[in-house]
C-alpha cells in the first residue's frame, strides 16, 4: 500500500514528536543527536517510508549529488568499462551519474555543460579530451572537474589515465624475456601523446636490456589497422626483418597479423606480436593477442576518488593539477613465443 503522498520531513517530525531540524540532523549528522531521539526519528522514518527530497536539499545547499560524465561515444567499450568503475565508486559515495553523450559535437557538449550549472552538479568527468572553445563555455562556472583517458587540451584539469610508459615497457620486456632482440616498434608518431609514451617505454626496456636498437625497425603509424599492414610491407621491402613486432595498439597489431598471415607466415611461430589496449577483438582473432590491458575500471574508480577529494576540499584555488597514472597489466595470450631458430 503505497502512501498517496510521499512523506516529508514534517511528517517524520510530527510522528517522532520532534522538530524538523532534529530530523534533518538525525539523518545527516546522527552524532549530533541524542541516541534516544535518533531512535525515535529512525522509527518514524521507517513507518512513513520517508526519503529525503534531493531536489529540496540540493536547492537549499546550492549543490546536488549528481556527477556529470561527458563522453564522445557511449558505445565505445573503453567508455563503458570505465563507467562501471565510475558508477560503482560514485554510488559508494552517495553520488549519482548523469550521462552526457557528445558525439564530438561541440554544441551538444555545450548544452551538457550547461546542465552542470542548472543541475548544480557536484562534479564533472571528461572523457572528451577537449572542451569546446567558446565564450559560452569560458563564461560557465564549471564544478570541480577531472579528465579521464585523455588530458584536456589547453586546460589544467587533473587527469587520470594509464601509465603508457610502464605499459610499453612491460610489453617490450615480455618480448625480451622470450628471447627477442630484433624487435620492431610499429606506430611511431609525434601526433599522439599516448603513443609517444609507449615508445618511450619501449626505449627504456631496450636500453635496460642493453639491446642496440636498429632504426630501420622503428616504423611510423597512426594506430590504424592499415598502418599495421603497411608496416609489415615496408619491413619486407627493406629486407630488415624483426623477430617480433611491438605494436603501439591492438588495432595496429591486428593489421600486422593480417599482413603476416597474408604472406603465409605463422604467428607466433615465425613472428611474435604484442598489442596495447586489450580491445575485445584481441580475444577473437587467432592467435589471441598478447597485449597490455587498459585498467579501465580502476581508472574510473580513481577518477571519482580524485574528484570527490576536489569536491570536498572546495578550495576554488586549483593547485598544480595532479596526474594519476595507473600501471597496466600484461595479458598473456597466444601471439608471443620464443624466436624461431632458423632465419625466415
Amino acid at each position: 500500500m503505497a502512501p498517496k503522498n510521499q512523506a516529508t520531513i514534517e511528517d517524520v517530525a510530527r510522528i517522532a514528536g520532534v522538530s524538523i531540524a532534529t530530523v534533518s540532523r538525525a539523518v545527516h549528522s546522527p552524532e549530533r543527536v541524542a541516541k534516544t531521539t535518533r531512535q525515535k526519528v529512525n522509527q518514524a522514518i521507517l513507518v512513513t517510508g520517508y526519503t529525503t527530497n534531493a531536489m529540496a536539499r540540493s536547492l537549499r545547499m546550492g549543490r546536488s549529488n549528481i556527477i556529470l560524465v561527458l563522453a564522445p561515444d557511449i558505445g565505445d567499450p573503453n567508455f563503458s568499462s570505465t563507467l562501471i568503475g565510475i558508477e560503482t565508486e560514485a554510488r559508494a559515495r552517495n553520488h549519482a551519474i548523469l550521462i552526457g553523450h557528445t558525439q564530438n559535437d561541440p554544441q551538444r557538449a555545450i548544452d551538457y555543460l550547461r546542465y552542470t550549472t542548472s543541475h548544480k552538479a557536484a562534479g564533472l568527468v571528461l572523457f572528451t579530451g577537449r572542451l569546446p572553445l567558446s565564450d559560452a563555455v569560458s563564461a560557465m562556472p564549471l564544478p570541480p572537474t577531472i579528465a579521464v583517458f585523455e588530458p584536456v587540451q589547453d586546460a589544467a584539469y587533473p587527469y587520470v589515465g594509464v601509465d603508457d610508459i610502464a605499459g610499453g615497457r612491460k610489453a617490450t620486456e615480455h618480448l625480451l624475456a622470450a628471447g627477442h632482440r630484433k624487435i620492431a616498434f610499429v606506430g611511431d608518431t609525434q601526433m599522439r601523446a599516448a603513443f609517444r609514451r609507449r615508445r618511450a617505454g619501449f626505449d627504456l626496456a631496450m636500453d635496460a636490456a642493453r639491446v642496440d636498437q636498429d632504426n630501420r625497425l622503428i616504423v611510423e603509424g597512426d594506430g590504424s589497422i592499415e598502418s599495421g599492414r603497411h608496416a609489415v610491407e615496408l619491413l619486407f621491402m627493406r629486407d630488415t626483418l624483426p623477430t617480433a613486432f611491438m605494436c603501439v595498439n591492438d588495432t595496429t597489431a591486428i593489421g600486422v597479423m593480417n599482413a603476416l598471415a597474408a604472406r603465409g607466415y605463422n604467428v607466433p611461430l615465425d613472428f611474435s606480436v604484442t598489442g596495447f589496449d586489450d580491445v575485445p577483438q584481441a580475444t577473437y582473432i587467432s592467435p589471441a593477442l598478447t597485449t597490455i590491458r587498459q585498467p579501465r575500471s580502476i581508472i574510473g574508480k580513481t577518477a571519482i576518488e580524485r574528484l570527490m577529494a576536489l569536491i570536498e576540499a572546495d578550495h576554488p584555488a586549483t593547485e598544480t593539477p595532479k596526474e594519476d597514472l595507473i600501471s597496466p597489466d600484461l595479458v598473456l595470450r597466444g601471439s608471443v613465443t620464443t624466436p624461431r631458430q632458423t632465419p625466415i
Copy 2:
C-alpha cells in the same frame, strides 16, 4: 570573466524591467507573453547568462527532468548501444539520463529505485527483466516506467523490444531462399520467451514455404556456446544432417561453427549457419556470421517516446500496457550460401 554568482530569475527580471513571473512565462510559455516583453527578457537572459535552476524548478513542480535507467550490466554492448538511442531521444526532449548499475543485486536495485523517489525522477527505464520482490519496493511510488529488451516479470509495464517472431522468420526465409530445405533449429526451449518466439518465426516461415519439418532437426539448447557445439554432435550421432543451421542466437551459432570446424567441415560450403542478435563477435569469426541485428538504438529511442507519452499523459490509470515490437533486419555476411549438391 565568469560571473561570481550564477544569475537567478530575479536578476533577469530586474534587468529586463519586468517581474519574475513574466520571466518564468517568457521562458516556459513564450506565447503567453507580449512579443516586446519577450525580447527584453531574452536580451536580459543573454547578458546575465541565466540558466534556470533545475533543482528549484523540480522542487516547485514536484518532478524533475531526470530519467533513471536501471541496467544489470553497463558493459553489455546490448546495453550501451540501446543507451545511445535512449540518451539521444531523451536529450531531444530535454530530459537527462541517470544511470543505475544493478549488477543483478536486488539491494542495489532497491537503492536506485529509491533515487526515483528522492530525485523525483520523471520516469524509469528497466533493462533488468525483473524488479526485486520486496515490501520496500512495493511500497515505493514508482514513476512512469517502461521495460526494454525483457518484459518485467509479474508486472504490467509497457515493453519495447525486438520482434523475435519477425526476426526468426526473416532468418529462416533467407535460408529457404538460398535453397535449403533441411534446416536445423538449434536452441529450442520453453525457458526463454525470446527463444520461443524465434522458434515461432521459424515455424511460420517453414509453413509458409510448405516445407515439412523433421522433428529430429529441432535441437534443444539454452543459448550457450556449448549448446551449439552439443547440437552438432547430437545431429551427427543421430545421423540426420541438415544443410543449414538456424541458431537461436549468435552465441549458439558460434558454438555450431566451432564444432563444424572441429569436424573438418567448411561453413558455408558444407553447411550454412545463421544467428540472431548481431553481437560484436559475429564480425570477427570466420566466416563472418549472417545474422539478425537487434535494432538496439531504435529500441532505445522508442522506449523514450513511449515513456514520455506516459509521463505527459499522467493518467495514473495505466491502461493495458502496450507492447512495442521492433522488426529487426537481416545482416548478410559470409555464413550462408546455397546447399552443396553432393551429400556430406
